[in-house]
Amino acid sequence: MGKWTRRAFIGAGSVVGGGFVLGVAGLALAPNRLRVVAEGGAGAGELNTWITVTPDNLVTVLVPHCEMGQGSQTALAMMAAEEMDADWAMVRVKEAPALSAYANEYLVRAFIGGSVPASAVRGFDYGTYYIARWVGLQVTGGSSAVRGTGVHGMTLAGAAAREMLVAAAAQHFSANSSELIVKTSRVLHEGSGRSASFGELATAAAKMPVPSRPRLKAPDSYAIRRTPRPRLDIPSKVDGSAVYAIDFKTPGLLSAAVEIAPVYGGKLVSVDSAAAEAMPGVKRIVRLTEAVAVVADSYWHARTALIALKPVFDNAGHGEVSSASIFAAFDASLGPAPEMPASAATVVKADYRVPFLAHATMEPMCCTARVDGDKAEVWTGVQDPLKGRGIAAKALGLPPDNVRFTNLLLGGGFGRRLPDSIDYIDMCARIAKVMSPAPVKMVWSRETDIQHDYYRPAAMARFAGALDANGSAIAVKSRYAGGGDGESTFTPYAIGDKSATSSDVSHPIRTGPWRSVLNSQHGFFKESFVDEMAHAAKKDPYHFRRDLLVDQPRFRAVLDRAAAMADWNSPLPDREGRGIALTECFGSIVAEVAHVAVSPDGRLRVRAVSAAVDCGDVVNPDSAAAQAEGGIMFGLSAALVGEITIAGGRVVQRNFNDYQMIRLMDAPQINVEFIRSERAPGGLGEPCVPPIAAAVANAIFAATGIRVRDLPIKNQDLSRRQAPT
């Protein structure tokens, strides 16, 4: 782990303002700038860790976050370039290398001061809390890039760089800094009409002292932020030139195909390798504890031989585990519905269930490794290169510094490639060790990818709620199994007696963070139940919520916007309906209205989704809208068709034919509006996922009177004959 180098902003307790940042900010804890001087090449002026200005006048922003389609590399570059007053056309972005110098631990410390809250309370940022567990790493997760690295790092780095360039220009022109202005990568001295480009000033600027309190621009003078900027990574994604982990090439590269024990924890018992060894291109059959690999001269040769192996695995004693047994255990653990106050005029009760889900990134898990003596190289795509390097080092018994790690583009992340879920690096390293010194690329088949995920936890919740004689909500209580926390179970509604308590039930299915972590489950539970309470109170679900948000103007504004966008009160044809849901996570508030149509024979069509988002100040508006659209589609797949089931201890689904997701024909029209805000940016990669399942389920109720309490909705008969009379 890199030492914190406090030379730049140390002692500036108010650099970022507010006690909660503990007086540390981006550059304060970023490494000594001299360590990365070589990065810029000959003649480069290293202004600080994250920004390089070269004599050709290019500004390169080093971003310590991976690009997996979320657009944060571009947004972060915008935040730095804005403070520099750089010419956006001359700005490039580069992912920081997997070196501890770029760990984002400072960021986590900045947020939470290194301490973890004792109790699960709302108001605490759980996205950051999860990252905090990976302190010292280089994580992209928790919707944290813009609101963390951007706000606390990139803006300061950009502002500091600008002041250093101005100082260099002042020296050069023998002028006062105050007489200089900066415009599109040039420093101008208006009095004399002289000017110099950033590139011309770079070398001198790098020798200037790093300012301890760089001045940030006033938001109303932003020239780069708040304007849609095409993402810098997109051109390479339309011509086939983008290099994902699976595309990596190097001379002498071998391919590995693997089969892993189908039951998690199972071990390889036997394998009959004679036939496979004789097949074309096969180099070696590699037996691992939990898997077997065929290494061959091409992927197809490896895969074909793998099928001939017919390995036998044990089931780790989990052969009786099934989805039914897990939900039965959840059910038993939850006990009776929570007690409701005696004053209740009406009591509402409901149970909800959601299944396990796979991430199913379009690029299956893959990794290339080469081991040569006490050195190794790894090429893959992860949400935490530093931990990836550590995992490879551990698997090989090498010190981390002996492993060179290159992070390539990720063909989807969604949490699958977070530090606690990148087992495939360990597996590839072990195979490559056997094949040393040949480089080996391991590619999981789609079947392996779907059957060996770290699944979104299945969960169940048991709710009870009470209304008084006026139909006002006076209590909502729930118990849940399958995971939750203070953020995911929080509701903003003014209901006197609220509680959500957890019941721990263990099972052997491997789980992990899945886009929005625990909020996709609880968003469905809590926003379905408040809808049930509204109907029990015979009130409009939007107005019922609205009335409970008198003391929550920010939530209320988001709810109102979504309802207005969807023209909530306009009449709809028979068997069409609207549903609304409101959630907050990762520092952003989102309300979504789904408009559905259900045919008499039960076919569901989600026609439109209106989403109102308060994520604070929006850095790159069009890219932000894309994240909202993508989050809604991702959540829709889960709501409508997504389901991993367990039988005989193993995952039943194998490929996209039985692990389904929505396609273009299922995709609704989506409208996204952002609440105009001067607040610091919130997260955006995840917050639009949680409301959609409840919004659709609530819309189905409005259209048909059928209440969906179990996901996915495809398992429910929505035909007219099922409708309550």
């Binding site: 011509d239 091409s298 990134t361 829709l636 029209q669």
Partner: protein, 156 residues
């Protein structure tokens, strides 16, 4: 057994089993990695290429059947340094997110627009069954509609 494949106007002599999938000949043997592996069962369309102008899912298309055809991959779409209008539309409408499925998506749209130069929404729905996990569908549709009507977006 050696087979000659014509990819993006160039002949390649590949020594692979004629029953093996075209995808792996393109990626591993010829080394054009813009065409992606997604599922191996022709469900997701990440591996879509054009064979004689028709969109096919190369992960289940035998190499032997591609002999004596003209194969076009994503790398062969731009001409003389100018992007194909679909590629340009994809930039104008900022379609890709992670981008992994987009090579196949763009090739599938190529096939669609060859068959239906001005596709209706129903034709788009029926022909474009590629999976995009990032959920770029709304922009895919927007970009196709704009092309069908000769529009450029505000990004253009």
């Amino acid at each position: 057994m050696a087979i000659t494949l014509n990819v993006n106007g160039r002949d390649y002599l590949v020594d692979v089993d004629p029953d093996s999938p075209l995808l792996w000949a393109i990626r591993d043997t010829i080394g054009l990695t813009g065409t992606k592996f997604g599922c191996g069962i022709a469900e997701c369309g990440a591996c879509t290429v054009l064979v004689d102008g028709r969109a096919v899912r190369s992960c289940m298309f035998p190499v032997g059947s591609a002999e004596s055809t003209a194969i076009t991959t994503i790398e062969g779409l731009a001409k003389d340094g100018t992007l194909h209008r679909i590629q340009q539309a994809w930039i104008d409408h900022q379609v890709p997110q992670c981008g992994y499925c987009q090579s196949g998506m763009i090739m599938a749209v190529c096939g669609l627009l060859t068959e239906h130069p001005h596709p209706t929404d129903d034709e788009i729905d029926a022909e474009l069954t590629n999976i995009c996990r990032c959920g770029t569908f709304a922009r895919v549709r927007r970009a196709i509609r704009a092309m069908a009507h000769g529009e450029r977006s505000h990004h253009g």
